[in-house]
């Protein structure tokens, strides 16, 4: 029996007014994969993440996560199914500490019911302690421990990117969508980031889809690689095949590609 894809898109279309950002997109991601999603600026990669995560509904087409229709769901619903995404432009809670940004994430939390803090505060405290040590571990993992009590709004661009990645680790995801996780992150941390992704993939069986412009990172980390141009998937396969695909070269060279290849 063939293995079921964890994520499947069937003829997904997204129009913004007259602009077709995603055009008849169909693809499958297998469980446990670390897939790369590349393509020139404006190809529709982020929009695809928005559709899959539920940030916006597709104009038409079907999106299935573990065999279940998720198009039209809201982001918190896809999150509950185990689908977590990050943002290309980090969206941290600026006037909350880095630690709080992470402690927010785990679900379900007993203390998120308003009356629990009045009626059973000790149970909330116990859960808080657990969540806090989990958050501190994750901070250690992304080398942000020293900034735990800093307002997230005060972090540098690269640190905010790492915080985005850390947020996904705080959830218990089945699948993580990373939108340019390496942008602005320095070389050393970048290596740790890819090691972290691989470890999460191997040890926790998390499936990744990673949008990334840094070709060295993508080629080293991802298999398969999915290439988008003008809203459509134009190529898909192992890194070596994709690199030599004439359609991919054309898509990049024939556009205002910013020179990452």
């Amino acid at each position: 029996m063939e293995e079921q894809p964890i994520l499947e898109l069937r003829d997904v279309v997204k129009d913004f007014g007259g602009v077709r950002a995603v055009d008849q997109c169909s693809l499958r991601v297998m469980p446990g994969a670390v897939a790369g999603l590349i393509g020139p600026n404006g190809a529709g990669k982020t929009t695809l993440f928005n559709l899959v995560s539920g940030a916006m509904p597709p104009t038409s087409g079907e999106i299935l996560f573990r065999g279940r229709r998720i198009d039209g769901m809201r982001m918190h619903q896809t999150f509950e199914l185990g689908l977590v995404r990050t943002f290309q432009i980090p969206r941290e809670m600026k006037r909350m500490t880095v630690l709080e940004n992470l402690m927010l994430v785990p679900a379900p939390q007993l203390g998120e019911r308003p009356w629990t803090s009045w009626l059973i505060p000790w149970m909330v405290d116990r859960q808080e302690r657990r969540i806090e040590s989990q958050a501190l571990e994750v901070l250690e993992f992304v080398s942000l421990s020293h900034l735990a009590d800093e307002y997230a709004g005060n972090l540098s661009g690269g640190q905010k990117k790492l915080l985005e990645f850390a947020r996904t680790l705080m959830a218990q995801p089945r699948m993580v969508l990373l939108d340019e996780p390496g942008a602005g992150v320095n070389r050393t941390l970048l290596r740790e980031l890819s090691a972290g992704i691989l470890r999460a993939s191997v040890e926790r069986g998390i499936t990744f889809v990673i949008i990334e412009h840094d070709m060295r990172l993508v080629m080293a980390l991802c298999d398969p690689i999915i290439v988008m141009a003008n809203g459509a998937v134009i190529a898909e396969g192992p890194p070596s095949n994709v690199q030599q695909d004439p359609r991919v070269l054309e898509a990049y060279l024939g556009s205002s590609f910013s020179g990452a290849a």
């Binding site: 918190h76 977590v84 809670m93 940004n101 927010l104 007993l110 998120e112 909330v124 405290d125 009590d149």
Partner: protein, 327 residues
């Protein structure tokens, strides 16, 4: 004014400031922690006040009033005669419940939509409540207003000392609400509210059902405002639709929160005392300076000064550094 007069004046002042502090706490739940833009506080103010007043006030003698059919005469109904004024608590609870239900309805309809819809809806409810009590004379005597709203435990102390008693009552209620809000906003629930205030989309991406939390916060804040309205009604003991002027029932409360420190419950209470102090203090100024418009202008100047000098308010929001694991 002699010493007793000054003390009495200060007690009266403290009662009103503490009642306003209740509203500032409610607004802090809405705006300070969740970012809900409620510009119709006057609506919940009036609903709370009228609800409690109608629950507790005897209809007036038809010989004295043309329009008299209102209220239920609940004050006569002592469910448990413990020698305590039980009706006061019933009025408080009813005021809270009515505001909570109205908030549930408004919130359910508007909180899924863009932010501006909530603002428009709160403004709308304030005006609707005012017009309702103005035009529906059967409900609460129209523009002539409700008289002789009973005071809590009125018979217990002599009238000239009554305010001391009521100040204690108001301070007890304020403290209880302060503790309740403080607890709630420092809990994981409050953390979600602040996350929503900071970035709704990111909160949603962190798995939070933003709509549900906003609805809860909106109801919680409105319930607090309802209690404030009830406390107000039994202090002033006369209500008319004109009592709930947007300047004194919405604007000043915003001023209090901005001046005291949005996102800080102590700040909200402090702001209430500071702004109410300026508002009442300036009435003693000579000539044009005691003109209400000038006094509102002074509050405006105060807001601008605070925003320029201390943008977060006198007591701004505190960074929350928790280390539960170490303790």
């Amino acid at each position: 004014m002699d010493a007793i007069g000054i003390v009495n004046y200060l007690v009266g002042f403290a009662i009103m400031a503490a009642i306003y502090a209740v509203f500032a706490l409610g607004l802090n739940v809405h705006w300070g922690f969740t970012g809900l833009f409620n510009i119709g506080i006057a609506g919940f103010f009036a609903l709370g006040a009228y609800t409690s007043a109608l629950m507790t006030t005897k209809p007036p003698d038809p010989a004295l009033f043309e329009d008299f059919v209102f209220g239920g005469n609940w004050s006569e109904t002592h469910f448990l005669d413990l020698g305590i004024d039980l009706w006061f608590f019933l009025g408080l609870a009813a005021a809270a419940a009515v505001c909570g239900i109205i908030a549930l309805i408004i919130g359910y309809v508007t909180l899924r939509l863009r932010d501006d819809y909530l603002a428009i809806a709160t403004l709308g409810i304030a005006e609707t409540v005012r017009l309702f009590f103005l035009n529906e004379k059967w409900a609460a005597n129209g523009s002539k207003g409700l008289y002789r709203i009973p005071a809590f435990l009125e018979g217990w102390v002599s009238p000239e000392h009554y305010d001391y008693l009521y100040l204690v009552v108001v301070l007890v209620v304020l403290s209880a609400l302060f503790l309740a809000v403080e607890r709630a906003v420092k809990s994981p629930w409050g953390r979600v509210l602040r996350a929503i205030r900071e970035d709704e989309v990111a909160a949603e991406a962190s798995g939070k059902n933003v709509f549900r939390f906003k609805l809860q916060a909106f109801i919680f804040g409105a319930v607090i405002m309802g209690v404030g309205g009830a406390l107000f009604a039994h202090n002033i003991r006369f209500l008319s639709p004109l009592t709930f002027d947007p300047l004194l029932a919405t604007f000043v409360i915003w001023a209090m929160l901005m001046v005291g420190g949005s996102g800080n419950n102590r700040g909200a209470i402090l702001g209430a005392f500071v702004v109410w102090g300026i508002w009442t203090g300036t009435q003693f100024l000579p000539g044009i300076f005691s003109d209400p418009n000038f006094r509102f202008f002074m509050i405006g100047v105060l807001i601008v000064a605070v925003i320029l000098l201390r943008p977060g308010g006198i007591l701004g929001e505190e960074r929350r550094i928790t280390r539960a694991a170490d303790s």
